[in-house]
């Protein structure tokens, strides 16, 4: 009897569900997702909605930075493009959200061509710095093109243009966002299994070798960029629909850094890692806030410094993860899985 999971064909190696066990667990998870909104309180639903959006954005960044190895500091900028485009399409052009979301995603993807054009010549860290420039230029445009973006005040989403079911309960929003998230996960998973996904990994591991193997580096980098910004555009779009309002403060550099943290903490270059990372990074500040608001009632001076302590903990977590757990949460998950697979004969 084989211990562990061996494959004898490429097809088996590429399958989404590697074992029947996985199918069972997926089914249980799916039921859990369906049942969750009926048992959870409104606060948990609110957090879960944020997690859904973050997962989509994080998948996008992971495709570009994790799979293709091009670290981008401009993800917040892409989220902003998606979000603002959605609001403008809905509020000014009067489109319905079902048209506006895909158009916003596509437009964000097209907008990424602006920087990918110049950044294809750049390698590694130079590329990263050029995306930093993109982030700042987008922020500037948002703040100063007031006719279009509303400047620092932002634009509220007109409530009569949004379908009824989104305006009401958090539960409806949850199902709406969850549907997008599941679609995004399946899409990203399939990309990672395809020739394109393998090409990304080849470029990340060694560009020269990938070129020697006959890959068109420029083409695949552009594809990675397009896909990443498409995901970001959709995530930005959903973020706005969830919040009902758009303002420049949701898209600054800190957001870009948070997305990078999701990728790093979750696990570089894995789909599961993006999900773990997004959950972790969204829930951590909420959990800390909960802890500190409890402590704050007994020690009032704490309430002044909550945000600072939060950031210190965040910084420490990044450092600790990168030093001691470079494979992220996904690596921990894999280790646990391996331990139980052969239990009790582990070594």
């Amino acid at each position: 009897m084989s211990s562990g999971n061996f494959k004898t064909t490429y097809k088996a190696d590429n399958a989404i569900f590697q074992t029947t066990f996985v199918i069972v667990w997926m089914f249980i998870l799916f039921v859990g997702i369906l049942v969750f909104p009926f048992i959870a309180g409104s606060y948990f639903l609110y957090v879960m909605n944020l997690v859904c959006i973050a997962v989509i954005g994080c998948l996008g960044l992971n495709l570009l930075s994790g799979f293709a190895g091009q670290l981008s500091l401009g993800h917040g900028g892409f989220l902003a493009v998606g979000g603002y485009f959605t609001v403008i399409l809905i509020a000014k052009a009067g489109l319905s959200i079902w048209v506006a979301i895909p158009i916003a995603g596509c437009f964000t993807a097209i907008s990424s061509l602006v920087i990918s054009g110049s950044s294809l010549r750049l390698r590694g860290l130079y590329f990263t710095i050029s995306t930093l420039a993109f982030q700042f230029i987008i922020e500037h445009i948002i703040l100063h093109w007031e006719n279009l973006t509303g400047g620092p005040k932002g634009i509220p989403l007109p409530s009569d243009e949004i379908p009824k079911f989104l305006g009401g309960s958090l539960r409806n929003k949850y199902f709406f966002l969850m549907a997008f998230t599941i679609a995004a996960i399946i899409f990203a998973k399939n990309i990672s299994r395809s020739k394109t996904g393998r090409a990304f990994v080849a470029i990340r591991e060694m560009e020269l070798a990938a070129k020697v193997l006959g890959l068109n580096i420029a083409k695949f980098k552009i594809i990675a960029f397009l896909l990443s910004s498409f995901f970001a555009g959709i995530a930005g779009s959903l973020y706005v629909l969830n919040k009902g309002f758009i303002g420049p403060e949701d898209y600054n550099l800190q957001v870009s850094i948070e997305y990078i943290m999701m990728v790093l903490i979750g696990g570089i270059g894995t789909i599961l890692g993006s999900i773990f990372g997004a959950i972790f990074v969204v829930i951590l500040p909420e959990a800390l806030r909960l802890v500190f608001s409890n402590l704050g009632s007994t020690y009032p001076f704490l309430s002044r410094v909550i945000s600072d302590i939060q950031n210190i903990i965040l910084g420490l977590i990044i450092i600790v993860f990168l030093i001691f757990e470079p494979e992220g949460l996904e690596g921990i998950w894999r280790r646990i899985k391996r331990y139980w697979k052969n239990w009790p004969w582990t070594y």
Partner: protein, 301 residues
């Protein structure tokens, strides 16, 4: 009309040079670390913050005189540099650049929030020496502020000192050889680990000086660390690995920023100053991807 326009231009130029000197100091620290250990330091602005706040505390709380406070700040900064290198960067040796770059985000969060925790988010005026703070003789020739001139002179002396240090001192030579080829440097008996520590210490020191000068010119608050992000466009302009390039890049960006703020703000609506550096960055990357002093990396198939 002519006189006024000319005066304004000179004013803009001088304050541009003053800011440029500070940028140059920040960028030199940044380039030093990149050159020495291939680490892109995202936390350069936070290093700056640490130095400025330490100096501020020494002056206002411990009532030391300026020279002593400045000297002690440099020592503390160097210590912080060694500690940072030993605890955070040392374990990352050999890891992918992606991770090392990202760990400096963590460092940035940590330093900035610690500073905010200790000194709160309030804005303090930075106490300058007597002869500069009295308003009656705050300017030479009505339109050139003494503060700017002092900043330029102080910054230039320090930058010249560092250039000479790298060029002629034994430690400077060891640092340059380590940057050039780590293994060869090891074989020559250079203690590469110690050199990495010294690199970070000097980077902290340079950043602290920049921080003190900028806090002195404006005011002291945690958001000052945003200046550290300017180090990226400046370093790219200078070619990432060249210290003279970083100095020149800092001056160029400082001056262009001020000119843009002075002349374009009315046309394009405020806030141009903040993005000028990044627009220049994009343009430079399009025309000369390795900056003005950078070494082009050529790969052969």
């Amino acid at each position: 009309m002519g006189q006024g326009v000319f005066q304004m231009f000179i004013q803009i130029l001088i304050s541009g040079f003053a800011v440029g000197t500070i940028y140059a100091l920040v960028a030199v620290g940044f380039v030093l670390i990149y050159k020495g250990s291939r680490v892109l330091n995202f936390a350069q602005g936070e290093l700056m913050l640490c130095g400025a706040y330490i100096c501020f505390s020494l002056i206002t709380q411990f009532h030391l005189n300026y020279g002593l406070a400045f000297f002690l700040t440099l020592i503390f900064s160097a210590l912080l540099g060694f500690i940072t290198e030993f605890t955070i960067l040392r374990p990352m040796v050999g890891k992918p650049l992606f991770s090392i770059f990202a760990i400096t985000f963590g460092l940035g969060f940590l330093l900035k929030s610690s500073v905010a925790l200790i000194w709160t988010h309030e804005t303090y005026p930075f106490p300058g020496p007597e002869f500069l703070s009295s308003p009656s003789n705050g300017a030479i020739y009505q339109f050139i502020s003494k503060l700017n001139i002092t900043t330029i002179i102080a910054g230039s002396i320090l930058l010249a000192f560092f250039l000479v240090f790298f060029k002629y001192s034994k430690v400077g030579l060891a640092m340059r050889s380590t940057a050039n080829n780590q293994y060869a440097a090891l074989l020559m008996g250079i203690k590469v680990r110690r050199i990495f520590g010294i690199t970070w210490a000097i980077s902290y020191i340079v950043a602290a000086i920049g921080g003190i000068l900028i806090a002195w010119m404006t005011a002291l608050c945690p958001t000052l660390s945003f200046i550290g992000l300017k180090a990226f466009p400046i370093a790219v302009l200078g070619g990432m690995e060249s210290i003279p390039g970083a100095i020149l890049g800092g001056l160029i960006i400082g001056v262009i920023e001020n000119i843009a703020a002075g002349y374009l703000d009315q046309v394009l609506g405020g806030g141009i100053k903040e993005v000028t550096a990044y627009v220049i960055l994009v343009l430079v990357l399009m025309v000369k991807p390795y900056g003005f002093f950078g070494r082009e990396e050529i790969e052969r198939l």
